[in-house]
């Protein structure tokens, strides 16, 4: 099928190159060579006792825009980690340690770790 010029080739297979363009336009190998099996999703949020001026500012902006029923807002971070091994429990253990030691700071932040197949 011939694409019109303004169309992005997102998600379209290009057989001669064996590449697929992802929606973010990065080139990733597909098929047999790709070993990606799982993805870890990590959500980091400020602890309740810690001042969260960003959350407060966003909350008041939402109120100014006229959105009703907006309570406290907490601004955190979201990380995605691609995992290439097949051992889900092993990966969880390792990432839990990394979250505690490095990816979050337990003095000021909480984290939630999820591993999706």
């Amino acid at each position: 099928m011939r694409m019109r010029e303004h169309e992005h080739p997102v998600g379209k297979e290009i057989p001669s190159l064996r590449l697929r363009l992802s929606p973010t336009f990065s080139l990733q190998p597909t098929g047999r060579n790709r070993r990606l099996e799982m993805k870890a999703k990590i959500i980091i949020t400020p602890k309740k006792a810690v001042l969260d001026p960003q959350g407060k500012t966003v909350q008041s902006a939402l109120e100014h825009m006229g959105y009703k029923g907006v309570g406290a807002v907490h601004v955190g971070k979201y990380l995605e980690v691609e995992l290439t091994g097949g051992d889900k429990e092993g990966a969880r253990k390792q990432l839990d340690e990394a979250c505690h030691k490095f990816l979050s700071n337990p003095v000021i932040e909480d984290y939630k770790l999820e591993i999706a197949d």
Partner: protein, 236 residues
């Protein structure tokens, strides 16, 4: 006295620290973050600025650098370490000081002179601050709001680890004098052993009258004094 001043990618107060130490008649050497040794340094300054883009959190990546492993060992052996601004953040992330530094309550980058009250005078970082003198020293940070949980703050007080608090020109602890929302107006603390300290204000930028204040000298002079005391003890 020989100082090692660390240099991370994006440190920007390293040269100021070296300049201040030299102006005060002592020697300083820049130590690149990939080095494993601090050489013959008698004290270490972790300067302000940024480090490794401060990705994830300020100081979170810098703490894993080779030079920080040497700093940990140096501190464990009783060596004097002073972290200024980003250096304070690195020391907290490294676990060499308790607590953490978070976004300023105002969400603004604050760049101005503040007044500091010295709370504990019996440390290598404060001994030469004249009794009752308020230090007028500049700050320049967006993430300088000191936070620690209530038990940690109680421990800091019991052990007299709070070195400096933000006050107004009259020396009063007020909310208006607190530029970043720090718990208890805390501007700087030390560890329990009293050989590692960190503060958000920049004493190295206040060592010459030409720069608007020379009050930062008292902090460096405290370090010189402590080192002299150590050398005399070794000689005796």
């Amino acid at each position: 006295m020989n100082f090692a001043v660390l240099q991370f990618p994006a440190s920007n107060c390293d040269q100021d620290a070296v300049h201040a130490i030299r102006v005060l008649g002592h020697s300083a050497r820049l130590v690149w973050h990939k080095e494993n040794s601090l050489g013959d340094a008698e004290a270490v300054i972790i300067p302000g600025g940024f480090s490794y883009g401060d990705y994830l959190r300020c100081g979170a990546i810098a703490r894993f650098s080779p030079v920080m492993q040497a700093v940990k060992q140096f501190a464990d052996n009783g060596g004097l370490v002073l972290g200024i601004c980003n250096g304070f953040q690195v020391l907290c992330e490294a676990g060499l000081l308790p607590g953490a530094l978070i976004r300023n309550r105002s969400l603004q980058f604050r760049c101005e002179h503040v007044f500091l009250k010295t709370i504990a005078a019996d440390t290598p970082f404060t001994s030469q601050v004249p009794s009752g003198k308020l230090l007028r020293i500049p700050i320049a940070h967006g993430e300088g709001c000191y936070f620690a949980d209530a038990p940690t703050i109680a421990r800091l007080k019991t052990n007299r680890q709070i070195l400096w608090q933000y006050v107004n020109a009259q020396g009063e602890l007020t909310d208006d004098a607190n530029p970043n929302g720090a718990v208890e107006n805390i501007a700087g603390i030390c560890n329990e052993r009293r050989n590692v300290a960190g503060l958000m204000p920049h004493p190295e930028r206040a060592c010459e009258a030409l720069l608007g204040s020379a009050d930062g000298r008292h902090i460096f002079e405290s370090l010189f004094h402590a080192s002299k005391g150590k050398a005399e003890m070794r000689a005796a």
